[in-house]
């Protein structure tokens, strides 16, 4: 018996590994309409409400001398304001794009963190909709920022980089076009999506293997359950880090793209 081959029949006696089906549960409401709700969509709505409620409480009546909760919210907002936005865009442009970047960071963070919240256990960003929509918004934002500043300069900087002999533009310009206008949104989408999909699959794999080893495996294999449980626990913690890191990466890349778009010269 090969333990690791997923079996079609899930009778509990053979090991059933996680599949991509995990991310496409059955619809619970409005089935067949564009507003179809399944478990992932409900998790997204819950995360959205949680984010807005927490932020609302934190910023409802902000005081010059902050209380405990305000301090925490402030720390998060200041991390984005100082560490990401003002650092890359400066104070003036920074103020303009701060709401967008902060919204992206906290939205991604809350969508990611549901992956390790008990009973939810599925990231809202583990289905392509969230990464794709955010990538499109980042794409629109940096093109808007560049075109608003100076359309000529933006496309010149993007497509005809300075310091390259004009002959090489035959090669360089298509490469730059692909990298700026195609690769950027694709990588933004896939990086976040794949991180969340793989993180969830790993957790499911470890914990379902633990269940299988403890309950159904032959006696000789039961000890493996301790190992898979330990790994599952470690990866659970790791997923918290990944959730934060991916939110940070998404926010900082969006900011960098905007910065490159509004730069005079690179």
């Amino acid at each position: 018996m090969n333990l690791l081959v997923p079996a079609a029949a899930n009778d509990g006696q053979t090991f059933q590994g996680p599949t991509i089906e995990e991310f496409f549960p059955q619809a619970v409401l409005f089935e067949g309409t564009p507003f179809e709700l399944n478990r992932v969509m409900l998790i997204r709505i819950l995360a959205t409400i949680a984010l807005i409620v927490l932020m609302w409480i934190g910023t409802r009546a902000m005081k010059v001398v902050p209380g405990r909760f305000q301090s925490v919210v402030e720390m998060g907002l200041d991390f984005i304001r100082v560490g990401v936005v003002e650092d890359l865009l400066g104070k003036k442009d920074g103020r303009r794009f701060l709401p967008l970047i902060a919204a992206i960071f906290f939205f991604v963070l809350f969508m990611n963190i549901t992956g390790v919240v008990p009973l939810l256990n599925l990231a809202g960003s583990s289905v392509i909709g969230v990464p794709l929509v955010l990538a499109v918004i980042a794409y629109i934002a940096f093109i808007y920022a560049g075109v608003r500043k100076s359309p000529k300069l933006f496309f010149k900087n993007a497509l005809l980089p300075a310091g390259v002999p004009p002959v090489l533009y035959i090669i360089v310009t298509p490469i730059e076009f692909i990298s700026t206008f195609i690769i950027r949104p694709v990588t933004l989408t896939l990086r976040l999506l794949m991180n969340m999909i793989v993180g969830h699959l790993l957790l499911v794999l470890f914990f379902s293997a633990t269940t299988f080893f403890f309950l159904y495996a032959p006696a000789a294999f039961k000890a493996f359950g301790l190992g898979t449980l330990a790994f599952g626990f470690a990866f659970q913690l790791f997923e918290v880090l990944v959730a934060l890191l991916q939110a940070y990466v998404f926010a900082i890349l969006t900011t960098v793209y905007i910065q490159l778009a509004v730069a005079e010269e690179h």
């Binding site: 079609a8 089906e21 991310f23 709700l37 807005i52 409802r60 010059v64 907002l77 906290f106 392509i128």
Partner: protein
Amino acid sequence: MTHAVVAAEESINPLIPAPSDLVWATLCFLVVLAFFVWKFIPSFLKMLDDRAAAIEGNIAKADEAQNKAEALLEQYTAQLADARSEAARIKEQAREEGKRIIAEQREQAAAEAARVTAAAQAQIEMERKQAAAQLRSEVGSLAIDLASGVIGESLKDDAKAAGVVDRFLADLEASETGKAGAQA
């Protein structure tokens, strides 16, 4: 966990979004973005501005208070120095005054003493002279009366009598002196 049948698995491509997936992702994000644009970031930035203003205000206030305190301290120090020199001056003045008064008193006392002494001496001298003159006249007449009786001869001649008395007194004085010298 319920899974769809294996045949359905092959039709799912995680890279192709379902319409509802896009709808909910967009709706959720737009709601979050709206709150950040409308409420969260503006109140956050307003609070930061207020905080900066408060800190700047406090610094300015503290500066002002310090300047005031320094000015006051300077003023007090100057006043204290003034008062000290004033006190020293008054003390010095008083000391000189005292010296002057003492000297004056001493002078007055000395003058008074000298006056009293001089008056006493003058009186003594005068009385001595008076006594001597009286004595001389009494002793002279007494001696002459006595001598007249002895020698039976009246020494009426005044010139002669005076000469005799004088000689007699001189002899008397000389014998007195000789006696005193012998005694000493």
